[in-house]
């Protein structure tokens, strides 16, 4: 099984679920130059992040090259323990990844 690019932690407290995640991604803006060749490093960044709980859309994030490498995202929603969370992202080069977890 390939390692996921998403690390996630989801805890429920007082009816509110706090979801924290770290996504491994270079988030290249496309304006940096390779030190050795002098050529531009092509833009490679996440364009959209989707979060669903029990199949219901909770959050959609539209990102650009302005977000730093290995982005951290945290959000809250009204929910309960045992909720099935699904986080997925896609980037401008057509790559994507997703991860499912259960709220503790």
């Amino acid at each position: 099984m390939a390692k996921s690019t998403i690390k996630i932690r989801a805890k429920e407290k007082g009816g509110v679920v706090t979801v924290k995640m770290l996504i491994s991604h270079p988030m290249e803006t496309g304006t940096r130059k390779d030190k050795k060749t002098g050529k531009l490093i092509p833009a490679h960044y996440i364009t959209e992040v989707d979060a669903e709980a029990n199949g219901e859309k909770k959050l959609t994030a539209y990102w650009s090259g302005g977000i730093s490498k290995n982005p951290y995202l945290s959000f809250k929603y009204d929910g309960k323990k045992g909720d099935k969370l699904k986080i997925s992202w896609q980037d401008n080069q057509g790559q994507s990844d997703s991860l499912e977890t259960t709220v503790k």
Binding site: K7, R9, S24, K69, Y72
Partner: protein, 285 residues
């Protein structure tokens, strides 16, 4: 007979004089490492009376609660996790001759970082963990890793992780070792660079004060979290990488990493954290 007893009396008086003289002039004897350690700890205890001894391993995060909160948020997804995994793979990857690094560090599972650096009487050298990692590679016909960052830091991170919680136990067993310890101590307290600052200036006398927007970390417990993931570096680096950077920051020409100066400095610097637990690899700003 009489001559003998006179001589005996004279030599007895001479001996007594010498003993009393040496007791009256003890200045030639330098303080021992144990005395230095005691004085070091007492100084920091007095400076930061509300910081428990073991908390010094967290550096500025033991001093600033707001910074600590941010640091703890980062530690939820530790940035050095990938490095530990990389280090583990490198440590167990067989060399061309079939052996692995485990053959050079047979006790690695129990944690070994707390015993470094140590004085190797046979070679007369201070041995640091990174030095021995590369010696292991060379002994087994492999090219050594470059110092400072990359694979050397990853392997060091893996070994540090396995040593977490173990109390630092650096020994100064003999006169030759003490000479190296003293070299390190001298380095620590000597002014250098265009800014004419000693390590001690920032990390002893002005520890806890601000340097622009940052806080100066206390020298007590300073080495325990290495190798360190620094947000500034966007990656993992070794202790000598930081020594190099610190020297550049006071506009002094840095010494070579794993050269005699930094190894002696690491020897003194780590000895001053004896008794504190390893908490590496760490994450810092």
């Amino acid at each position: 007979m009489e001559e003998h007893s006179v001589k005996a009396k004279l030599s007895a008086i001479a001996a007594a004089l010498m003993v009393s003289l040496s007791m009256a002039f003890p200045a030639a004897v330098m303080a021992s490492p144990e005395d230095d350690l005691k004085a070091f700890r007492e100084y920091f205890k007095k400076r930061f009376p509300n910081v428990p001894f073991e908390d010094f391993v967290n550096g500025v995060y033991a001093l600033d609660p707001a910074a600590r909160e941010q640091w703890e948020a980062i530690e939820e997804f530790p940035p050095y996790e990938i490095n530990i995994e990389k280090g583990k793979d490198l440590f167990h990857k067989p060399f061309k001759n079939g052996k692995t690094m485990a053959s050079c560090f047979p006790d690695y599972k129990q944690g070994i970082k707390q015993n470094y650096p140590y004085f190797d009487t046979k070679s007369g050298k201070v041995k640091t963990l990174e030095l021995e990692i590369n010696e292991c590679r060379e002994k087994n016909g492999e090219k050594p890793f470059p110092w400072g960052k990359g694979p050397i830091a990853d392997v060091s991170a893996y070994l540090a992780y396995l040593s977490r919680g173990k109390k630092i136990d650096v020994k100064v067993p003999n006169k030759a070792a003490e000479a190296e310890y003293d070299k390190g101590k001298h380095f620590f307290y000597a002014k250098r660079g265009q800014l004419n600052l000693a390590c001690a200036d920032c990390h002893v006398y002005y520890a806890g004060y601000h340097i622009r927007a940052d806080l100066l970390s206390p020298a007590l417990g300073q080495v325990t979290h290495f190798p360190v993931y620094r947000s500034k570096w966007g990656g993992l680096g070794t202790l000598h990488r930081r020594y190099s950077g610190c020297n550049k920051q006071v506009r002094a020409k840095p010494f070579p990493m794993q050269g005699p100066e930094y190894r002696a400095l690491e020897y003194f610097h780590t000895y001053m954290s004896n008794g504190l637990p390893i908490n590496g690899p760490g994450a810092r700003k």
